[in-house]
Subunit: 291 residues, 2 copies
């Protein structure tokens, strides 16, 4: 069993970006600029945004963190986005989800200029991805593709089982893995809450992508020998022995499943860091396209 180490692969991507950004500076070109909006002070959101800002610092990107009160009106938030849309210095706009309940996620996502939609959630980005037109691909599935690429995992003709059909992970990764690309060209089975025989389907998987948010869902009797297992789950489990009071647990029973795998992602340190690397790649791409 070998580890698909997201920290290592993400670092390699960030290192490469850092060199390219430094080169842009030498050439007198603009550096990529990511603007992140954080509404309220959800603990997990704080952590994610902080990690993104830190990644910007590491790679020489400019970043702007805009903190807004939990009770900000939807209109005020939309105005903020419009301002960033019109700011030629901003290449990528990211609104950390989830938003407070009085604000519509969809309205906010649709308000972002598709040319700055580095999270890849705007319908235009999604449509382009489906049609195989170059597009901002959502960070988590893009990160998974980059991880497979980094470790040169053969995917062509493999049967991938995707657990989960969310717009953020399951749906786009099933589209990407089944696309005519490399990585890609998998036969893909997409499973969800209405799937009847998940265990038998998983046993057919050369590749399993677990993105359902149920800690430890994928057990050893669901995985065939030699499978590649990608664990997207990241649930906070109470743990009094930790300083933070919790630990992170994936959708895969790593301890028992990992000995059967050819490759497996750990949690944390697998898909998580790749998500940030993918966001950096998208922001860089946006900067390059317009400058």
């Amino acid at each position: 069993m070998q580890i698909l180490d997201g920290k290592v692969a993400a670092q390699a991507i960030k290192d490469e970006l850092k060199i390219t950004v430094a080169q842009r500076v030498i050439e007198g070109k603009k550096v990529p600029h990511l603007a992140a909006i954080l509404v309220g002070n959800n603990g997990a959101s704080e952590t994610y945004v902080a990690a993104k800002v830190k990644a910007c610092e590491e790679t020489g990107f400019k970043s702007t963190l805009i903190r807004l009160e939990q009770d900000i009106s939807e209109n005020k938030l939309l105005e903020k986005i419009e301002k960033l849309n019109n700011d030629p210095d901003v290449d990528g706009i990211l609104v950390q989800l989830p938003l407070p309940k009085h604000i519509s996620d969809k309205k906010v996502i649709n308000a972002i200029d598709p040319d700055k939609d580095v999270d890849g959630f705007h319908p235009v980005s999604v449509g382009k991805m489906v049609e195989g037109i170059p597009a901002f691909i959502p960070a988590t599935p893009y990160g998974i593709m980059l991880l497979l690429e980094h470790y040169k995992i053969e995917t062509k003709g493999k049967h991938a089982i995707v657990l989960g059909r969310s717009n953020i992970v399951g749906r786009p990764i099933s589209i990407l893995l089944s696309g005519n690309s490399n990585p890609g060209n998998c036969t893909v089975t997409i499973c969800h809450s209405q799937t009847k025989n998940i265990k038998e389907l998983c046993l057919q998987g050369d590749i399993i992508v677990a993105a359902i948010g149920i800690p430890g869902f994928v057990k050893t009797d669901m995985v065939k020998d030699g499978a590649v297992v990608i664990d997207v789950g990241i649930t906070r489990i109470e743990d009094a022995t930790k300083k933070s009071g919790f630990r992170l647990k994936g959708d895969v029973d790593f301890e028992n499943v990992s000995p059967k795998c050819s490759w497996i992602t750990p949690v944390p340190g697998g898909v998580g860091p790749m998500t940030i690397a993918a966001l950096m790649k998208n922001t860089f791409r946006s900067c390059e396209m317009s400058n």
Copy 2:
């Protein structure tokens, strides 16, 4: 074995639309107006467009057929589309594909106002469909969903095998069938040219959607007893006994496969008529939304 009769289901949809349109007329409201652009004189395209115009007549829609020369420039075609985009009387714009080689399909599709994109090929339409936002769904997959709905085929929890990953059929129908909707909620496996064990996968299918364009590809030993088989294939086969010189053949070996099925679509008379009914539904929806 029972036939999923596209002619019957399409007629029912058109009859319903006809009544609703007549009601609109009584209320002094505008009738739906479909503008179809046909470039050159490809035989199959002529047939398809004629059928669409005829369906408009049957349902009380207004239709405009715009014929353009095979050698029209891309720019001239784009200007034509822009004019239709700006014409408030036009609810739906349809450019019959394929276009001559010197014209970019993508550029033309992207030029259509997403609010009039009744073929559902614009990235905005595709993105909305993926994200489950009400959208114009491409006519063929939408037609399949309407056919399943008409015959009240239970799809929830069923395993659907989709053969083909084209943007026109395979990809969108795999998204629709796996969505949280009714029809829908299937586990979906998407297969394509790189899939290794198509036969074994098909044998797992409670539902098989064949959309690869290889006549007679799905044979009796690939289908389990009681399966629902949807045949999207429609290839012209030379046939000297026919006045036209050809006959239409689907992707399924109907003669031998049909006895095993619970339901199956014939070719012709299955998915084909539903495609047109779906286009009518989209055009009607566009008219209703803006008037």
